[in-house]
């Protein structure tokens, strides 16, 4: 069964949705640019977590995925879902203009790593120290900040409101992750271990 879902970035929503699918008896077996593929499983048999690997090279991301698979988890790469028609157009144009943008476009294409484990009743968390969580949100903020700046610049340049609307969405995501980052940073300075 293929399901088409679009997430503009909020990872927690994606995790909740995948957990809910598992609760209904469907586990993830594949991903594409806009779709997630499921097959039947026992109700609530699996739990999901998502990590950001857009800052890693392809080899580093693969090494990390192998490490997780060695632990008995299943992993799926997923694009960060910025492929709005608008976004696609921009990235494709920019990708032709040099390695930097081509690398960024490829990185965003496989920026998320969905991790699945058997549900053992415990919460499934990949990052368990506040310091580590803060780093996770900080890294996650960067692509959205870049996109916000890019779209805002396009809006200013073309004077078209559509670009600003997209920029506003990315700005919102950026603020959400910034708040998470600051919260974790505060916890890490207040608590030990």
């Amino acid at each position: 069964m293929k399901k088409i879902r679009f997430y503009s970035g909020l990872i927690n929503l994606q995790i909740k949705w995948l957990d809910k699918m598992s609760d209904k008896g469907y586990r993830l077996v594949g991903t594409g640019k806009l779709w997630y593929e499921f097959e039947p499983c026992g109700p609530s048999e699996y739990r999901y977590a998502i990590d950001y690997v857009g800052d890693k090279s392809r080899t580093q991301a693969k090494e990390y995925a192998d490490f997780l698979e060695d632990l008995g988890y299943r992993t799926y790469f997923k694009n960060i879902n910025l492929n709005l028609d608008l976004g696609d157009l921009v990235w494709e144009k920019l990708a032709g203009k040099g390695d930097f943008f081509a690398d960024r476009a490829t990185a965003l294409d496989r920026a998320l790593l969905i991790v699945e484990k058997k549900n053992d009743g415990k919460p499934f968390e990949l990052h368990t120290t506040y310091e580590d969580k803060a780093l996770f949100y900080r890294k996650l903020m960067i692509p959205y900040l870049l996109l916000f700046l890019l779209f805002a610049a396009l809006g200013l340049y073309t004077k078209m409101w559509g670009w600003f609307a997209a920029a506003a969405v990315f700005f919102f995501v950026c603020i959400v992750y910034l708040a998470d980052y600051l919260k974790m940073k505060k916890y890490s300075s207040l608590t030990e271990g």
């Binding site: 990590d51 990390y64 192998d66 490490f67 997780l68 698979e69 060695d70 632990l71 008995g72 988890y73 991790v115 415990k122 968390e125 990949l126 990052h127 368990t128 120290t129 310091e131 580590d132 996770f136 271990g193």
Partner: protein, 106 residues
């Protein structure tokens, strides 16, 4: 994983990983070891463990063990890692002595 550079104190996670690797272990066994040794109080996420392993490899405190190209990579503590663990043990002993004196529990 940030250990205290100036004071030389290790984080609890770093110290436990070093202790777990006096015998070669793969990632899953390290997680289990830490959970067992702390009666489940310290449950290490896979992402956090991966970051900690890479940072310890970089410091030269642990190294890959056995078939490095095979799946289920194992790691083991190095002489430098043992030195760091010994320093930490001495620091903790001193701390416990001081705490016992201060709190009158000797």
């Amino acid at each position: 994983m940030r250990d205290n550079v100036k004071g030389g104190a290790l984080t609890e996670v770093t110290f436990f990983i070093l202790l777990s690797l006096y015998e070669p272990k793969h990632g899953y066994a390290i997680m289990q070891f830490i959970e067992e040794m702390t009666d489940g109080r310290l449950s290490l996420g896979a992402g956090t463990l991966y970051g900690a392993i890479n940072s310890l490899l970089e410091k030269g405190w642990i190294k890959p063990y056995g078939d490095v190209n095979g799946r289920q990579k194992k790691y083991v503590i190095t002489p430098d890692g043992k030195k760091a663990a010994k320093t930490e043990l001495a620091r903790l002993k001193k701390l416990v002595d001081f705490a016992s004196d201060t709190m009158g529990e000797k």
